[in-house]
Symmetry: C2
Subunit: 473 residues, 2 copies
């Protein structure tokens, strides 16, 4: 490990000599804060280059000077990966001026975008050419493609379309030494050597700065249908998913598990949100189908529901009869995170387990917490991906601050349970700074050694986003 240098006046002067004035941003607080308020970076230089060449020039200078580089996308990350650490003041590289959608190829189902493009803009552009860019998540109005790739983001359509990794065909990356790797391929089959694209995706800016990508589009399903179905248990939810897939295969686009606690929190904090059930069932799922023309989705959902009711894996259900009702169903699912924020969680967990282990995880979760304290739990998420958001709240009348001392124990208990069941404690939000210790605790030592070998080989000076994923030293 070489020692890193902070941004110095000399270093800043070298940047100013190499880059136009327009690339320099004032170091506003937003570049050094993150949504959950857990991390606070040291103010350094903030650069917003207009081109890949400018990014490369800046990284090359940082490499020569040994100055840490922190890539910055939409600033929506939930694990602090976009924030400079406590070390020497860093060069923050914001992609906010590289937002071009360079090209679309509808027959190829492809789009090429710069890393600063906002997800919602990419979705809109795809729609313009009668295609779908399927990644969809709460922060889509501000999250940028580069950050979504760097964290291998997920969301509600992963079940059918995969995560960012699955949606990316090619990448352009500025490497830690300032070289530009042009992997912007449009090829769906290319076995000319090692897969560097997937190594970069999910590496959270620790192996380079993603500057552009070619992304896969999909045909827009001809018809769409949505239902809310009450299920007797999480295990029944898995059965229902299998039943639906046997019926329509990958026509199941989303399948979201909701616990009654979510409804109670909505009632408490967002009373305008309409509920699909008169009384919230203990467990329910939001299921959405995307089907070819020739099928009536409401009819198909009814068939699925009837078969499920007969098999005792569905107890109640309602099928959206209009686009408005569909939006209401989705509002329930999408407003739950907001309701959670208003209640104020003691601890939130973005975990995944093998699908078959979900019922056991949900059954044992409360048990591992009882020794620590008395909590309310809101467990919801992408059950078809084995991905649960397991959030722990104070009882009414208590605040999250009352439980500050218990947070580490809660976190460890949930993470231990996850690990015991073969799961991951960093499912879709990434590692960032928040879970660096978890990686050390839970990752296979051989996995850790391999990661370190790769990091040291590609970034021997350790300038790229130091302290993210792996410890800085």
């Amino acid at each position: 490990m070489t020692d890193l240098s902070p941004v110095t006046p000399d270093f800043e002067a070298s940047l100013r000599a190499a880059l136009p004035d327009a690339a320099f941003k004032s170091p506003e607080p937003k570049y050094f804060e993150e949504p959950r308020g857990r991390f606070q970076g040291a103010a350094g230089v903030v650069l917003a280059p207009a081109s890949t060449t400018e990014v490369a020039a800046a990284v090359r200078l940082a490499h020569e000077a040994g100055v840490p580089v922190v890539p910055y996308g939409g600033g929506t990350g939930l694990v602090g990966g976009q924030i400079a650490g406590e070390g020497p003041a860093a060069l923050v590289l914001s992609l906010e001026r590289m937002t071009r959608i360079r090209n679309t190829w509808p027959r190829e189902n492809l789009i090429e975008v710069e890393a600063g493009a906002i997800l919602a803009d990419v979705q809109a552009k795809a729609k313009e050419v009668d295609r779908l860019f399927p990644l969809s998540l709460a922060s889509e109005g501000s999250a940028r493609i580069g950050g979504l790739l760097a964290t291998n983001a997920g969301g509600v359509n992963v079940l059918r379309y995969g995560n960012m990794r699955d949606l990316c065909l090619g990448l352009e990356v500025v490497l830690p030494n300032g070289d530009i790797w042009n992997g912007l391929t449009r090829l769906r089959k290319d076995n000319l050597g090692y897969d560097l694209r997937n190594l970069m995706i999910g590496s959270e800016g620790t192996l380079g700065v993603i500057t552009a990508a070619t992304l896969k589009l999909s045909p827009i399903p001809a018809t769409r249908g949505t239902a809310m179905i009450a299920v007797p248990s999480p295990d029944a939810a898995l059965d229902l998913l299998a039943l639906a897939r046997n019926h329509v295969g990958d026509g199941v686009v989303a399948f979201e598990l909701i616990h009654e606690q979510g409804y109670h929190f909505l009632s408490e904090t967002l009373p305008d949100v309409r509920h699909p059930f008169e009384t919230p069932p203990e467990w329910s799922v939001l299921i959405e189908l995307g089907l070819p023309s020739g099928l009536d989705p409401a009819q198909v959902l009814m068939e699925i529901f009837e078969a499920a009711a007969e098999a005792h894996i569905a107890t109640d259900g309602t099928i959206a009869q209009s686009e408005t009702q569909r939006a209401e169903f989705w509002a329930v699912r999408e407003k739950i995170p907001e309701a959670n924020r208003r209640i104020g969680s003691v601890s939130s967990h973005d975990i995944s387990v093998p699908m078959e282990a979900i019922p056991e995880f949900i059954e044992r979760g409360p048990g591992v917490l009882t020794e620590i304290g008395n909590f309310r739990i809101n467990c919801f998420g992408h059950v078809g991906d084995g991905n649960l958001h397991y959030n722990v709240f104070p009882q009414p009348g208590r605040s999250r601050a009352d439980h500050d001392n218990e947070r580490p124990a809660i976190k460890r208990a949930i993470h231990d349970l996850t690990h015991e069941l073969g799961g991951s404690v960093a499912a879709e939000h990434g590692v960032g700074r928040l879970k660096v210790e978890d990686v050390q605790a839970y990752a296979d030592p051989t996995h850790l050694a391999l990661m370190r070998q790769i990091k040291d080989a590609l970034d021997p000076k350790g300038i790229m986003n130091p302290g993210v994923i792996l410890p800085a030293s």
Copy 2:
């Protein structure tokens, strides 16, 4: 680069001390030859371990002694990656005794298999639990999962289900130092650090020996329909694919382009194969749909054909009316490679280009060859993946031997054209030993440098399959 040592009596003794007798195979010629007869390895020790621990023990000893290790799967690779090179006599590690299917999880759509499992057996096991393992290619009766992963194999269903990379969730790999990396996850979302799985997939045994994998299964489509459609041009074929996908989305499972030369070769060498058209059209496609229940695939194919005929992108067509006729259509596509072998190609090319560049590639291909000689061309393949098998044959009355001198020029001309159009000269068969020089010639220098850094970091002694993908020195 450290010098490699050949297998010596001392090294063999150390293996015999560490491994049971049953692991030692006699060094039959098959371990040192490959299907196209282009490479011939030096006889060394052939080991067929029964477990991952045994593989690890063998690799550890090879690592200590600096002996090259060549992993061996089904022996069906077409680029010589499974054959020891000209260097010191190697340790050949055959996975043929590790064929267990360890587990299936139908609700999770998952299967866990050892690397020596044969593809057809994995397909059959999936079917037993009412699921589909969709990878399908000519050698499926003998190709083994480890080799298919090491080469990121493709085939006819990539369009819909992806290649081996897309079908793999987790891996177990013995690393070049003999450590076992257990990445056998069942998680569909796991962002706990770098993606080592995809680095191993497609690395052709140069970064480790794959010993087991968790693979994704799919629901079996409720109904299936197949048609042969004549199209006026390759460009029209792209339009037809887009039209079909607009109609049924990813219900299009396969879409194979066939040139009339394929029919002529079939008539000449395999006259029993029935043709779907009275007169072979210059260009035709085999299209297969997999649809949810509630749709009649013959009806859907008819709608697609009628819309295509109206748009002048289809001129003739026939829809399979029975499973027998469906098998006949597929026999045309699947027997073309055999017909090619009987005719005897001067040069075969497994290339990919961006889909939109396919018409230009096909148009310019003959032109770049006219300066070299007078040939027949059979171009066919997976047009939706941009993947063409572009094979060059002698004129009638001439033999491939007559053109031996021209082969390098043909290869360079086709590869140059591929490269110019943004394509890859190693689309689905991999690099192996055959295309090592092509990687050096066509890969971006930054890409080459990154590959070398990774290879040196993970395999500093260079024992793993030396001379494959990257030059041995």
